[in-house]
């Protein structure tokens, strides 16, 4: 089955806490929940615990959801339905 944009819905409906991010700066692989979080800012800033680089930013201001993953090389998360894989 080819992958389509519709499949993105499945990704963003998941609980991402257990997702593993590969840092674009140093290559460390870390569970999302084990990162250093800086919520005291206009957006949540998520930094790599190994090198402190920003791997993810998430903001909810102004009626927009903003997600910046430019500091993440790869995001992996277990598919909820084994048959989907």
């Amino acid at each position: 089955m080819p992958t389509t944009l519709d499949d993105l819905r499945g990704l963003f409906a998941l609980d991402l806490t257990g997702a593993v991010l590969t840092c674009g700066g140093c290559g460390a692989r870390t569970e999302l929940g084990a990162h250093d979080l800086y919520p005291d800012a206009p957006a949540l800033v998520v930094r790599c615990p190994a090198c402190t680089a920003v791997v993810l930013r998430f903001g909810t201001g102004g009626g927009l959801l903003r997600l910046d993953l430019s500091g993440t090389r790869l995001l992996t998360v277990t598919a909820p339905d084994p048959s989907a894989g």
Partner: protein, 199 residues
């Protein structure tokens, strides 16, 4: 007859210095943190002007310290609504850093240790409007306030005055920075209350 803004009538001088929606923080100096405080050793620190320029312009810490410094006393205005009057700094004017730099660029992205960036029109940094400061209230600028050196552009909201600044990238086009991509206003004039995109 001149039109006088009524809101200023009968108020003291300080109120006239307070942009709309701001409050005087007095002796406080809050710190907003989006990451750990960088502690770059001074022998590894440098400041560069790069991008659309005739080659790379670079100063080591010693070279930067040897540049002509000037005292600056200004009011600063944070987007989180505090203002602080008569803050005293010392630093190198951007005019000094750009002296002899050939460029056709109209915009600047200031970049910092820790990955922070902010964008400004080049015209807002020159002609005595912007500095790289290394001294606050006669003391070396503390790391929590952006030391060893930070940008100071007091006529714009203080997020434009990038802490831990390491250089300026001169660009032909406006490239939104760290918070500007997340909803903060592209320009950030406190007197027009340009806090968020669309303000």
């Amino acid at each position: 007859m001149a039109v006088v803004s009524r809101g200023f009538h009968g108020r003291g001088r300080r109120d006239r210095r307070l942009p709309p929606g701001q409050r005087d923080i007095g002796d406080g100096f809050p710190v907003l943190t989006a990451g750990p405080t960088p502690h770059t050793p001074l022998d590894e620190w440098d400041f560069v002007v790069q991008g659309q320029v005739d080659g790379l312009h670079r100063w080591t810490w010693e070279e930067f310290r040897a540049l002509p410094h000037e005292p600056v006393t200004v009011d600063i205005h944070c987007v989180t609504s505090w203002s602080k009057f008569d803050t005293r700094w010392s630093g190198v004017a951007i005019d000094t850093l750009l002296d002899g730099v050939e460029t056709a660029a109209e915009y600047v992205v200031a970049f910092s240790d820790g990955g922070y960036t902010t964008n400004l029109p080049l015209a807002d940094l020159t002609e005595g409007q912007g500095w790289v400061v290394d001294t606050y209230e006669d003391e070396p600028l503390a790391p929590e306030h952006g030391g060893p050196a930070r940008l100071l552009v007091p006529h714009l909201y203080f997020w434009k005055s990038a802490k831990w600044v390491r250089g300026l990238a001169l660009t032909a086009f406006d490239e939104p920075g760290f918070w500007e991509t997340f909803g903060y206003h592209d320009y950030g004039d406190p007197w027009r209350e340009q806090r968020y995109a669309g303000d």
